[in-house]
């Protein structure tokens, strides 16, 4: 199985919102689509899922043109929604039916996910004081976080082979964020193809092996996250010393990125310059508490790439 996007282009009038997006997943895993607001991520996802007609390009699933209606796709849209006036059970059964899941199987899945996402009291409320069954709640009666859980449930009800998660963690409290992460980890473990879009870089670093960063519809960076980081080299030096080292930093010609009471972050050209600076500190009998040379974070890469793009 493979998933490939080739040269996707979408324009609205004279404005091109996606300029030739291409990427490939040779096997199961998580692919990240990153970008600022309005970068073209959601438009690209909609084109991939066949909701929007593309001006050109193709989306291939296992080498052939992908037909989303015929596939089992789970989608958690950025623009989340449920029917506010209908009961949760009714709409979950409907979403499952549209995916071709039988009613009995859907009920089984709903019970599983309802228990796992702690939604039982809303979907299968306990009987009332008179012992009469109580109807499943309506979506409008749920908090935003719980509605988001129901939407994740709707996306995963059919046990999809291909999952698209657009900003899955946005707006969640830490407890529910952990719950979502656990679910996503399980889906990855089942060898699924997952495309994730998020502004939360730590989440992307946690789950994704390959990324595409988009800015104003253009791809500004693409590839394996580890390779990208490697290509930047270890240029972030975090130092903490007992004595002041400002004069030595200036002597070594290093740029201070950030200075906090806990540490000073410096930019070096590589390991060689870092070692030279360490020798300089030791030669000046500075007590070094911390000397940590790291690759740039995804956040830094993102800001650098997108910031540069926006300045152009």
């Amino acid at each position: 199985m493979s998933f490939e996007v080739r040269n996707l282009v979408k324009s609205y009038g004279d404005k091109t919102v996606v300029h030739g997006l291409s990427f490939k997943m040779d096997g199961p895993g998580v692919y990240a689509l990153l970008g600022t607001n309005g970068a073209g991520k959601t438009t690209s996802i909609r084109m991939i899922l066949g909701m929007l007609k593309r001006d050109s390009g193709s989306v291939l699933w296992n080498g052939a043109e992908m037909q989303p209606e015929k596939m089992n796709i789970g989608y958690l849209a950025e623009e989340r929604g449920l029917y506010p006036k209908y009961t949760l059970l009714d709409q979950l059964l409907y979403f499952a039916k549209l995916k071709g899941v039988s009613k009995s199987k859907a009920m089984e899945k709903i019970r599983y996910w309802s228990s796992r996402l702690q939604l039982d009291e809303y979907i299968f409320p306990p009987k009332n004081a008179k012992g009469r069954p109580v109807k499943s709640m309506r979506a409008e009666q749920l908090s935003k976080g719980n509605q988001q859980k129901v939407q994740l449930m709707a996306a995963l009800l059919s046990d999809p082979e291909f999952v698209v998660l657009d900003e899955p963690m946005s707006g969640l409290d830490p407890v529910n964020t952990d719950l979502f992460k656990e679910v996503i980890r399980d889906e990855i473990a089942k060898d699924k193809y997952v495309i994730m879009s998020s502004h939360q870089m730590p989440t992307i670093e946690e789950f994704c092996s390959d990324i595409t960063i988009m800015n104003r519809g253009h791809v500004v960076l693409q590839g394996n996250l580890n390779e990208i980081k490697k290509s930047y080299g270890r240029v972030n030096l975090f130092v903490k010393c007992e004595q002041p080292i400002d004069s030595l930093i200036a002597q070594a010609g290093l740029k201070v990125i950030e200075e906090t009471p806990a540490e000073t972050q410096l930019r070096v050209t590589g390991e060689e310059q870092a070692m030279e600076f360490l020798h300089l500190l030791l030669a000046n009998k500075i007590t070094v508490i911390r000397f940590d040379l790291r690759e740039p974070s995804l956040h830094e890469i993102f800001v650098e790439k997108v910031g540069a793009g926006n300045e152009e």
Binding site: D55, Y83, Y94
Partner: protein, 453 residues
């Protein structure tokens, strides 16, 4: 239209229908309308004054009847028609031919105050023979008894007319025949063609107008509901999730069919309720012909054959699909419920044009049922669903016209749905500003140009 464009239509249809039937708005409106339908016939009957005219009278309180005859062809002063010895109800009524002046007789009877006495007063009115029965306002005799007595006397009057004519029953039937003028011409092919341009009568007008009104009402109700359902999908943001499983076309068509089913179902229930209530009213008020039934001219629905009913239903359904698709498109142009009313103006304009033209056509049928405008409206797709079924049922529109109208509507529905398919998916994911009709046309053009699908 590709088959996968319609995949999931059934699921959308079922879900939308069930949720609509379960909605409080639907249930409340149905209950209210059912209550009105069930109560209309008995209330009309009560307002009209019980079962006047057709109530079955099993016994009568009338003991005496003065006959004050003014008909010139009854030489014995009305005695010719007062033999009711064979009648089950009025056999014991004592008839007395009066020679008094009518007004004086009335005064005397009133003075006497006999509560079981009536005056039978046959005279020649402007419309023909009138048999007037007068009773004391404070008397024991009621209006139904008087009506029944008048009916029996009229029958006797008929028999007397026949007896003095010396004609047989069959000969008399010939005398009763109505005249009808038919002007025909022979076509070059040798066929006889009706050349008469007659207008429809009041009863026919009533049928055509009521049908027009009902179809228009169903059309507006169902179409508005379709538009609301489309906006609900968008405003609740569910549409994105749905679109991973079904195409916009299936979403739209499923909703249209569900709303049509819900609205037509409601109408059918109302009709059943009205018919049942009318029957029940007849039983309760012991009358063969209720007031509601009496309002429907006899034989007016004689052309309601199965083929005509099917043709009419097809026309109505196809018309509703067209209007509902249009309303659905209007719904897709906005993202918020509060904007719906404004976007529905396109639908409203088209529906009003159709409705007013149809009303004008039905009104003009009274003058001439086959004039150019009527013929145009019977074929024009905006008006044919409202005029042609009625015109077909009252036997004004030829079957060929109805079939052509169906063909035109099939083509128009197909094109409208194609057009909707072209623009709907462009509109459906638009969650921002309202889209204008210009944008919609531009989207349709883009679709025509084609893209990498």
């Amino acid at each position: 239209m590709k088959s996968n464009e319609l995949r999931g239509t059934g699921d959308v249809f079922r879900f939308t229908l069930i949720q609509t039937l379960k909605s409080k708005a639907y249930i409340v409106s149905l209950v209210l309308l059912l209550a009105i339908s069930l109560l209309t016939a008995p209330i009309m009957q009560i307002i009209r004054g019980g079962a006047a005219g057709n109530k079955k009278i099993e016994n009568s309180k009338i003991e005496k009847a003065y006959v004050c005859n003014e008909l010139p062809f009854l030489p014995e002063g009305g005695k010719e028609i007062t033999d009711l010895s064979g009648d089950e109800v009025f056999s014991k009524v004592a008839f007395e031919v009066s020679t008094e002046d009518f007004d004086k007789l009335c005064e005397r009877v009133e003075k006497d105050g006999d509560s079981k006495t009536v005056i039978v007063h046959p005279y020649l009115g402007t419309q023909g023979v009138t048999v007037e029965i007068l009773r004391l306002g404070s008397g024991e005799v009621d209006g139904d008894e008087c009506s029944a007595l008048a009916d029996v006397l009229c029958k006797n009057l008929d028999q007397y007319k026949r007896s003095i004519s010396g004609l047989t029953e069959d000969q008399l039937k010939v005398l009763d025949y109505n005249y009808e003028v038919a002007v025909n011409y022979i076509t070059p092919e040798g066929d006889l063609t009706d050349d008469a341009d007659k207008g429809i009568n009041g009863g026919q007008f009533g049928v055509a107008y009521v049908l027009l009104f009902v179809v228009s009402m169903v059309c507006i109700m169902a179409s508005t509901q379709v538009a609301t359902a489309v906006v609900t999908d968008k405003s609740s943001r569910v549409v994105e999730l749905l679109l991973t499983s079904v195409r916009p076309m299936a979403l739209l068509l499923g909703k249209i069919l569900a709303m049509l089913m819900a609205t037509i179902g409601q109408m059918v229930l109302l009709v059943i309720a009205i018919v049942a209530s009318n029957k029940l009213t007849g039983v309760i008020f012991k009358t063969e012909t209720t007031y509601m039934t009496s309002m429907i001219p006899k034989g007016i629905l004689s052309n309601m054959t199965i083929p005509n009913a099917l043709v009419s239903l097809a026309l109505i359904a196809l018309g509703l699909i067209f209007y509902a698709t249009l309303a659905g498109l209007c719904g897709a142009m906005v993202s918020k419920m509060e904007e719906l009313q404004d976007s529905l103006k396109y639908f409203t304009v088209v529906a009003l044009v159709g409705m007013y033209a149809a009303i004008a056509a039905v009104i003009s049928m009274q003058q001439s049922a086959t004039n150019m405008f009527v013929r145009f409206c019977e074929l024009f797709p905006l008006t044919s669903p409202m005029t042609t079924p009625g015109a077909r049922i009252i036997d004004v529109a030829p079957m060929s016209y109805a079939l052509i109208a169906i063909a035109i509507l099939v083509v128009l529905d197909f094109l409208t749905l194609r057009f909707a398919a072209g623009v709907y998916e462009g509109l459906i994911t638009n969650m921002g500003n309202r889209i204008t009709a210009k944008d919609v046309i531009a989207m349709a053009r883009n679709k025509k140009k084609g893209g990498a699908d």
